[in-house]
Symmetry: C2
Subunit: 232 residues, 2 copies
DNA sequence: AGAATAGTGTCTGTCAGACACTATAGA
DNA sequence: TCTATAGTGTCTGACAGACACTATTCT
């Protein structure tokens, strides 16, 4: 009576939580990859993640955050569930499910820490083909990238790839890196105004030409969503 | 070596797959609810779903489909992953994760079968408050409804609430029921034309006035997505 | 002054909202 | 003919794309 579900327990699917942590570094979209210390796929590169620790985690969100903090030492600025991937064959140990999150950080927030460890590194998405990638993580990363691109077309999520203070040119640049296409500066400015999620500070910053207005995200605002996509 | 993950196995989260099956019936959005035959929440109403059967299911998609077929005897016209819900407290047995799908069927496809069983029924979303609902399923249904509404604003998904052959008026009606607001017939027609996912048949149907053009979804087409939302 | 970047003004194109108009069926 | 519903024509408004223009900083 206490555990009537136990009969199936030994056949329970393997359940893990993984994250696709993106950043924009050197003008390119990058993903955090971790060298696997365990079987299966030992020594290959995979997404940061692992099993839920039911004694520590209150939810899978916390699992994702905990695993990311272990690798980067900080919480990402943005974290959202992507989707679960499951199959009887994706893990040699049997039927497995991985609940995948995708996340964004400013490169400056984490790179100093990542440079000190050798089991985690940023991988340029263009160079992912050259890496030995574990499981179906290459496919998962593609899905995450696609979702991020879509979000970039109708929301202000890309701002979470930037440090606290930033300029319009920086925001324009990360959006362009994410969607892989130039956008109209004017369109972005219209959206910044309409979103009301940014605060223009009494501060300007050098840019090689006229000083640029510095912005920050207003505290506790929701990410703006627009009813129309930028075109791809 | 064969099962190095076994040490954690007894602490593995409980993992289930549930589905929010929607239909439009009598001009209202309805959800399939199932009376629970087991603890916890025995005799209360919950979403159709259950444990993965790793001997049968190749993926969680198949689990969702299998469980829905058990209750409705048919596969839904549309099935998509919503998201996973997890917490240490949502199930009295401990940390649990449910991977939730949402699905659409034409009412005509299933109602005859559902009427013959007494452990499953359609529940009007407006009347869900009057029902004893298990777990956090009420919350999950709200999330699924919200996602469905969003999809209805920028895609043709609502067509999967209709039988194979349908008229513009019927499509307009299910969209309006889903988003809870009238839409412009003209806007819908523009989208039908632009989507190129429908075929106008050599067939008209009585409507009380002029005969209405009958449409069907072209075989194997993708659901059309638009770059702009209808307004809510 | 000239180059570089920031920011504005404004025209065009697309498409949703609105609504008047025409068309065709049954009573 | 009257009513009901199907379907068209077309104007307006919102907003993205395009791009010329002005503004400000450094060299």
């Amino acid at each position: 009576m206490t555990k009537p579900y136990n009969i199936n327990d030994f056949k329970n699917p393997l359940f893990t939580v993984d994250s696709v942590l993106f950043t924009v570094k050197e003008g390119r979209l990058q993903v955090l990859m971790v060298r696997r210390a365990n079987e299966p796929f030992i020594h290959q590169w995979g997404l940061p993640g692992g099993f839920v620790d039911v004694d520590i985690d209150q939810s899978t969100d916390e699992t994702a955050l905990r695993k990311l903090k272990e690798k980067t030492s900080v919480a990402p600025q943005y974290l959202e569930q992507l989707q679960a991937f499951s199959s009887a064959y994706r893990d040699p140990r049997g039927f497995s499910v991985t609940l995948v999150y995708y996340a964004l950080v400013a490169e400056q927030e984490v790179s100093c820490h990542i440079d000190t460890v050798d089991d985690a590194k940023w991988v340029d998405l263009e160079e992912l083909d050259d890496l030995a990638v574990a499981f179906d993580h290459r496919f998962i990363i593609e899905q995450a990238q696609h979702r991020l691109q879509q979000k970039a077309l109708y929301s202000m999520v890309p701002v979470y790839c930037l440090p606290e203070l930033f300029t319009i040119a920086q925001l324009k640049s990360v959006i362009e890196v994410i969607i892989g296409k130039e956008i109209q500066r004017k369109s972005l400015i219209r959206r910044i105004d309409a979103s009301e999620m940014f605060e223009a500070l009494d501060e300007k910053v050098k840019s090689g030409g006229r000083l640029a207005q510095v912005y920050k995200v207003k505290p506790d605002v929701d990410i703006a969503h627009f009813e129309r996509n930028l075109s791809m």
